[in-house]
Symmetry: C2
Subunit: 304 residues, 2 copies
């Protein structure tokens, strides 16, 4: 089989992926379970996370209506574009403040806003609509896994509900197979005994879905150990370690963003995680399959 992964260049990386696919047919079907990080693994995360573009657009709209919304320090830093202030506050606190802009919305209202943004938005740096910022080689791999009866999940540090809003269209992944960082909900009845409602709060539940939290959340929300895990940042380390340490055939796949010409070249270090080595060096030393975008991918982006 040489043409099942046409967007991958021949070489040791494609060979390793194909060897895993060949070996997986001997794994019982319920154990054929794969977890993919989203940002930087299934689609482009530069110059900004797509979700951050969405949140910042909402912030601009809200400040237009009511300038006092922008006075909160986390949001003021975003509005001013003050990178030093943003770094000091940190992405988790900024993301929490931005997510709070959607407090009170029903899940359906939030999803509708995500989809409207996604459908009209573009990655200006790449001059591509968001829908064609996904990586063709990864989508080919997902399709091949499904052909082999794998269950494919997305395990993202991003907002669960944002990714769920777009995952059916982008990846054909159902909402229950998306695990991310979660807002808390409030359930109640209008006036105490009227129509029931469920609405977003300004709080998050269970912490950011990064690092070892990814592994715990895979168990608690999905209930299976992945035999394939794919990621690109320090926040994916534990998930890849966990997959790689399983019995039987496993694949820990790390995307190295080293292609300044077709995408971006950057060290994959998650915003809120401190590492002394780059995740690429760590992955290589642990025997993971490290994918060089420049060397191993024939095509980068999906036609969309």
């Amino acid at each position: 089989m040489t043409d099942r992964l046409p967007s991958w260049k021949p070489g040791p990386v494609r060979d390793a992926v194909e060897a895993f696919l060949d070996a997986a047919v001997d794994v019982p079907v319920p154990e054929r379970f794969a977890c993919f990080d989203n940002d930087g693994t299934l689609w482009c995360e530069k110059p900004n996370y797509v979700q951050l573009d969405f949140f910042v657009g909402e912030l601009a709209r809200r400040v237009d209506e009511d300038p006092s919304v922008g006075e909160r320090p986390e949001l003021a830093a975003v509005l001013s574009g003050d990178r030093a202030a943003m770094a000091e506050i940190g992405l988790p606190a900024i993301a929490l403040a931005l997510a709070g802009l959607f407090e009170g919305l029903s899940p359906e209202e939030f999803t509708a806003r995500c989809r409207a943004f996604f459908r009209s938005g573009r990655n200006e740096a790449l001059d591509r609509p968001y829908a064609s910022c996904t990586y063709a080689p990864m989508l080919e791999l997902v399709a091949e896994l499904r052909r082999l009866d794998f269950t494919v999940a997305i395990v993202t540090g991003g907002g669960t509900e944002f990714v769920r809003a777009i995952s059916p269209e982008l990846y054909a992944v159902a909402p229950e197979l998306v695990v991310g960082t979660l807002v808390s909900y409030e359930y109640g009845r209008v006036d105490g005994d009227g129509a029931p409602f469920l609405r977003r709060t300004a709080g998050i539940s269970g912490g950011a879905n990064e690092g070892d939290v990814k592994v715990s959340n895979i168990q608690t929300q999905l209930g299976r150990r992945p035999i394939l895990a794919a990621g690109n940042s320090a926040g994916d380390r534990e998930m890849l370690e966990w997959a790689a340490a399983g019995p039987g055939p496993t694949l820990a796949l790390l995307v190295d963003h080293d292609d300044a010409e077709r995408e971006f070249a950057y060290e994959s270090v998650a915003g809120s995680f401190e590492t002394t080595d780059s995740i690429t060096d760590i992955g290589a030393s642990l025997g993971w399959t490290v994918v060089s975008m420049a060397r191993d991918w024939e095509t980068v982006f999906s036609p969309g």
Copy 2:
């Protein structure tokens, strides 16, 4: 279509279920989503929850090895069979203490113990193996929903991992579609930098999956609003209300255990929830479809 639900007797309840099935074909497929409670809804919960039998068996085994295990007040009450003491301590605290017996196990070890118990165990009062204590009419309904491309989830007050251990065999429900009460996990590496491990702690995460927690957990873990919800106890009330209040065709199905001859007759009031009315009366007043086991079911149990 009159023979798609052969275990249901003709009458207004079966008509209501069939009318819902007929209407559901006009609902977009991603919204064809159904949530079933487990104990007392998909299978028998009397004289004890099956999971409680499992936990108590484990307790006996552990006390055999080390009598001091049984000194903890919650466990002493179970061992003595002192119903007054158990009622005073409450089922949630007892369940937590029992779940703590499995602290330190990996998910795979816990699942293996659940399955061994389930395969060898019987409901002595009914003189049936546990595997044939499921309700034939409900399994028929689940099969019919799947024929209509529904996604079917189990939303249980019981332990998520216990139900996941048996749900593929009993209901063909995958682990990610089981939402219940969750233990917390600890992820780490042996000696700090050795092989990764994931093991059960003695704590639970997010509270018991009952009442409004069921609704929030459906949103956070499954990401869709059910258009069908089925239950039998006060702890299912909010889930059924939430389904029934949705737009488009909905079905809120409540099983009334009124069949002392073939199963058990009891008021469905969840152990830790206080209600002044029985859930059957509440359901009838809210316009739910209340299933009388005695009147509406031709057959009660699956052949197994």
